[in-house]
């Protein structure tokens, strides 16, 4: 794991770094510490990062801009901030976790678990941030019909038949999406509210028919879970 810590108070940055190392141990490939947001966005552009621990003051307008900018990039984000009242907003924008200061070792452990897919996902996600030219735009997730893996990134297909590209991995996305979204295939996550019916096509092959007429494949080992969900 390549980790970036963004924290403007050096003693706290030290603390986070020490805790992270002791909690993740061998898993840590590198930890970078930067003190300002400008440095952070430079570092994110110049080298690949898996997880960003970000201290963000979300009370100003710039705070949201920076949050959007970071979230549009491939890495996952955990916010470590004293502005606990902004946690819900952060979740709506798609962060994995929000740790309120002053934090404990246990709380940090929980956040890493969530990142590693061991903990429950958050159900607060409302928007996904994507890049369009130099601009970071928000997409409401309710309008997304399904996601499709497209090499390292993900394509989201919308109700109005548009398609947007998200710089995320499908596995990462699965961790932050709320309950109505189900992984039906190695390359597909679908919004259950848009599912019409599914068909058995023989030789243990299944196909999912969406309300708008799109047909998606269902992987064999994911079928039982999906069958159970749709029956409910």
């Amino acid at each position: 794991m390549r980790i970036l810590i963004v924290e403007d108070e050096p003693p706290i940055a030290d603390d986070i770094e020490r805790c992270t190392r002791s909690l993740l141990g061998e898993r840590v490939r590198s930890i970078d510490v930067v003190y300002t947001l400008e440095e952070a966005s430079q570092r994110l552009r110049s080298r690949a990062i898996d997880l960003c621990l970000l201290d963000l003051n979300l009370s100003g307008a710039d705070g949201y801009d920076l949050l959007k900018q970071v979230l549009a990039m491939p890495q996952q984000v955990i916010i470590v901030s004293a502005h606990a009242e902004k946690a819900i907003t952060a979740f709506e924008y798609g962060v994995i976790d929000f740790i309120a200061k002053p934090f404990t070792r246990e709380r940090l452990q929980k956040a890493f678990d969530r990142y590693l897919g061991k903990g429950p996902g958050s159900s607060h996600l409302k928007y996904l941030v994507y890049r369009c030219g130099s601009e970071n735009r928000l997409q409401e997730i309710d309008q997304i019909v399904f996601f499709k893996a497209a090499r390292v990134f993900v394509e989201a297909y919308l109700q109005d038949r548009r398609k947007i590209l998200l710089e995320k991995h499908l596995n990462q996305l699965e961790r932050i999406l709320p309950e109505g979204f189900v992984r039906v295939h190695r390359s597909y996550i679908v919004n259950l509210s848009h599912v019409g019916h599914y068909l058995h096509c023989g030789e243990s092959r299944y196909r999912l028919h969406l309300k708008d007429g799109t047909v998606l494949p269902i992987s064999r080992y994911r079928y039982p879970a999906l069958h159970h969900l749709l029956k409910e």
């Binding site: 003693p11 706290i12 030290d14 003051n57 004293a82 606990a84 200061k101 002053p102």
Partner: protein
Amino acid sequence: MMKFLILILSALPLLGSTPDYTTGKILNMSGKKILLMDQWQIRMGDQWEWAVNPGKDSSWKPVIFRQPPPDGDQTSAQGNFWLQTTITLQGKKDETYPLMLFFIELPSAFEIFWDGIPFARNGRVGKDRRGETPGKIRGFLLLPIHKTTSGAHRLSIRVSNFHIHKTNHEFEILCGYSSVLNDLTGQRKEENLLYMGLFLTAALFSLFLFLGGWRYFPALFFSVFTFFLFFNYFWFYLLRSNSLKVPLFYWLNPVFTSAGTISFLFCNVFLLWHLEIPRRKFILWILCISSSLRLISQFLFQWEFWHLDLFIALVMLGLIFQQFRKKKTGSATALLGYSFFLFDWLVDLLVPLLPVLAFLDAPFISLLAYSIFLVGLMGSVTLKMREQFRTLDSLRFRSQRLEAELLKKYIQPHFIMNTLQSIKSFLARDSAKAEKLIEALAGEFRLINRISGEIVIPLEEELHLCRFHLELMGYRRNARYQLSTEGDCSKFSIPPMVLHTLIENGLTHAFKPAENGIFRFHCARHEQRIVYRLENDGSNLAEMLKGSSEQIEEGMGMKYVRARLAEAYRESWRLHYGVDRGNWFVQIEIEEG
């Protein structure tokens, strides 16, 4: 409102009972009319026999009431003269009431004859000033009951005038039944009392408003305006009490009619300032000149220059209308009031246009117009007052809100949580530092708690607070911050947390974490001006400025600083900031006075 309307409507027939006038030389005794005797003959000199035997008609010159005579107004000349006219009584006489004459402003003394027989006098007619005793300015004269029979009668008046110099007053003599004449004058007196009450109430109310703490100068002008108007009507009241002696009247009349001019001047001055009419100082000059002209003409020539006032009133109406179009507070009600003021003035001209006015009684129209005029202006003042109170309220609210906002900034998570996190991270490694951090935090809190409610605090106390904050932030950001001062800080004061907020802003924007920094504070007095200047040598901000435009969006901190300065020094302060020789500076200048 409804009650008011009902009251006015029920008063309508009461006010409408003014008797009818006729002019000419014939009075019908069976009716209730008043004869306005407007056709007279005059003869200069003084001969007793003129009462019985007036002599040839050609030696008498005609004088017609309210028409300027071709060769000067001889009724206001000094010396002795006689007036005569005939009056024809017709119809059946009402035996209940006697017939009476009512005279107005016939200086200075006279004796009056009915068919050559003297029946009344006013003062004592004399051959010179010493021999003359002036009479009253107005009064009733009872006609001899048994001689007022049907037919033509001759009325002669022997006049002497040595007490009054040039006057421009036309005399008036009315004839009618005593009941009707008494009613007429009595009613006028009641109207006068009503006006006096109206104006005095308005004057005192606005004066008390002003004295009671609402330092709104136009309210004072309004008070002066209505007070002079009261004074003016008080004079009419005195006149109508029929007890003023001729010389006193001529002494006091210009004084009291000047009250009318002065009240008009103050009415306009009030409106100029109240509605913030542009170029009001210039207009004030014109108003003063015109009022002086009026006053001088009144005192010196007894000449009323009212056309000038009418012109000014029309101009003022135009100016008020202009403000009304700009939607100035209170301009609508002021426009309404002023229009009615002019309406009352011009009502005689408007009758042909609005025939309905002829059905309404003139005094009633006047009263209504004056009431609307006053109510309009007072309403306008009230609206202004409401606006001012609202502004004051919002200012007070804003200041309170900022204070609350500021306290929240320190007591709320953000600041304290971050500090606690720092303390936590120090505890494991460097407990001595953690202890110092706790002490600095406690020190800062204690001071903030004590000073944040004040409007200004000693500068040294503020600097003390800044040092606590710098120490605390130094630990948190792993840097050393210093605050150096220049000048004698013990002599100055400053609103609380102003420097503290500026330093906090500086720490957030100007310095990178772990970068040491120096703040320099400089205070000095240049005559009436106090200058505070805070600089820092942070590396970040100068760079930021180079890249972006000169404009920096002001955050909550700067707004707080401005609000605090405005609260303490109203408008006599200035704040500017920028980059000077690579250093960021904020400068506050305060005008003392």
